[in-house]
Symmetry: C2
Subunit: 391 residues, 2 copies
């Protein structure tokens, strides 16, 4: 009796892979080393500072009112100030506050993707990004990546082979999820040129750029495009402050603001006010700068710890990426089916996300994503040891 | 160069009416009586209790983590407990926590509405509800309402005239926004029968049912349908606790849960955690019961105050509804164009929403919505006096 048009759109989504991992995890009674989630560890959440800010803010009735759809003015101005001098520096007329980065992606697809449109995604890519494009009826075109990020030559060939221009190119340019790689500056230039030629929008999903702990900064895609409206930038505080706040922003051409406001009104009216005020105070109080400095050092050490553990336990059976920031290592285990391995790994007491989950076409059966951000070197050694035992 | 498929979908949305009211309001330097917004007044927000609960909750890192997409278990169990014995009593397998009622509507349309589908809306209806249906490409069929809510005979005729069954019937059955009217129990039965016959989903958007201050309770549409999966219920804490928390829920057939989780993952991953925890503690601590008892008395007095002011100042030139709960009076001023009147009213120092904003077809040019919930009787008298002066 009920027609469920959405059912067709969820075919092939990999949410279920992650869901089943999560419920398997919950069902385990023994201690698990959790390399699976892409969120900061409990000890990386500035909960004491946030609680102190909450004590100042949350006695005011206005902290619980509807916010303006484009975002609370207090957060908007604190954010503009905190971005000054960074590659993401921007202006008030370009900002929309969102419920995390995910809603930025939902807004982008609501504005730009119609059923049947071609959407380029990186191979591998962030599951949530490809899922939202699919939920608007996109046809996905997976394009290879390497150590320098999206392979722009392969992109040009793939688009030529498809015989039509993509409506959207979806990229995670910096410390990519899941691969950890960064799109090189020359490729950023080239990507923007191609998008210009094709009339494609570039969804520039960059949650990790502020978590650089090595190497030198690269210009943002927005900076490379020099104000061209084709770059639609999605940002979030989920990785830098806390994911549960569901607070992020979109930086887009001012001409899009009225559409973004209309679209967001039909999604959730506004982002939640207490979280917007907490983040505003966190930025205005200078805590983000301090917190990032601490976290970068932590993540640098944890990446090295995870790589050392991989060398120790899997040196001859695996290869892995070497990111300059972010949360993730992408590990390839030639000859191993990581999806099949998963239950055995869980039984040994270690969780990860199988590579296939990051490819709508189901590539990367021999790869997996490890989040190093949540685990100190001693514990990483235990986890990777268990992974080796499971193999 | 940029294609904006969303542009077409926003044509005819009335967001702009409300936006321009809001910015006009902000621009005013003198004191305005605000009858326009549909949110609780600052003195109706339990900010002291919420701040005390925040002080207990928000020192914990887990308060800032990703929540489960279906909602934090603490909130889910507190909610189930607080619904026990009400007409909205439900079970765990039917619940999805949402970012307010608006996201419940977005989820419903994402699941059920495809471009060109026929969606029945009440005339007048909640702007946000018709806007979200339009954003999924719905064709709207406006059906008249009267003092007993949606006119089910008119509904049957309108569907016969349309020559095809509606995919969705969107109703605000209790203390309707904007009219304040309640769908009578016999009409609830009839509505469910018609939906069954047509295979239509009923989106049952009921934010106000707990704010009854007169009359006797009516059964929820879900209770009337007796477990039939065609009723999709959208609820929120925006009117009963605070709108800025962006916390609500969907009560739907368990078969829909996996689809709801997939759809919500592609919207915002999860609802924000601090707000979920605050609401959970508010419910578990018994504060909602207490707060509702206080608020019902306040709103009863304010409705009476607003009606008395209307009698005094506009007794011979207006008629208005008499709701048993909720926030709104629907006022008809025969011969007056309330959209044209708006700037003059604002200049006098009173704000309202013109009737046309609640009708996609632009009916109700001589009507307006007044929110009585935010204004005490003395102030309501000042505001209605100004409205009379503007006329």
């Amino acid at each position: 009796m009920i027609t469920l048009p959405f059912a067709a759109r969820t075919d092939g989504l990999v949410g279920s892979v992650i869901d089943s991992s999560t419920s398997l995890l919950a069902a385990q009674t023994h201690d698990i080393v959790r390399f699976a989630m892409g969120s900061p560890a409990p000890d990386s959440i500035p909960s004491q500072v946030l609680a102190a800010l909450a004590a100042e803010e949350l006695t005011r009735p206005s902290s619980y009112d509807y916010a303006a759809t484009e975002g609370d003015p207090m957060l908007r101005s604190a954010l503009l100030e905190s971005l000054r001098g960074t590659s993401d520096e921007t202006t008030d007329d370009r900002l929309t506050i969102t419920a995390g980065g995910m809603q930025g992606l939902d807004l982008a697809c609501k504005l730009f993707v119609d059923p049947g449109d071609l959407v380029v995604v990186e191979s591998p890519t962030y599951t949530g990004g490809s899922a939202v494009a699919l939920s608007y009826g996109a046809e996905l075109l997976e394009v290879a990546t390497d150590a320098d990020g999206l392979d722009v030559d392969a992109l040009e060939e793939a688009v030529a082979a498809a015989g039509r221009a993509p409506t959207v190119i979806y990229t995670i340019p910096t410390f990519q999820n899941p691969a950890g790689t960064t799109l090189s500056p020359p490729r950023r230039e080239r990507l923007v040129e191609l998008a210009r030629r094709w009339g494609s929008m570039v969804i520039d999903d960059d949650p990790y750029a502020l978590l650089r702990f090595a190497g030198t900064e690269v210009p943002s895609l927005r900076a490379v495009a020099g104000g061209d409206p084709l770059v639609f930038s999605v940002r979030t505080f989920s990785k830098t402050v806390a994911p549960g706040l569901r607070c992020g922003w979109v930086d887009a051409d001012p001409s899009l603001s009225p559409l973004l406001i209309n679209a967001k009104q039909a999604m959730d009216t506004c982002a939640n006010m207490p979280a917007q005020r907490l983040v505003a105070r966190f930025l205005a109080g200078g805590y983000l700068t301090e917190h990032l400095a601490t976290q970068r050092a932590v993540y640098r050490e944890r990446k090295a710890g995870m790589q050392a553990a991989l060398s120790r336990h899997l040196g001859d059976r695996a290869r892995w990426t070497d990111p300059d920031g972010g949360f993730f290592l992408w590990v390839t285990l030639p000859g191993v089916d990581t999806q099949e391995l998963f239950p055995a790994a869980l039984a040994e007491g270690v969780a990860y996300i199988p590579g296939q989950a990051f490819s709508p076409a189901g590539h990367f059966t021999d790869a997996l994503r490890l989040c190093f951000a949540t685990t100190d070197p001693e514990r990483a050694d235990v986890g990777v040891g268990r992974l080796a035992a499971a193999m």
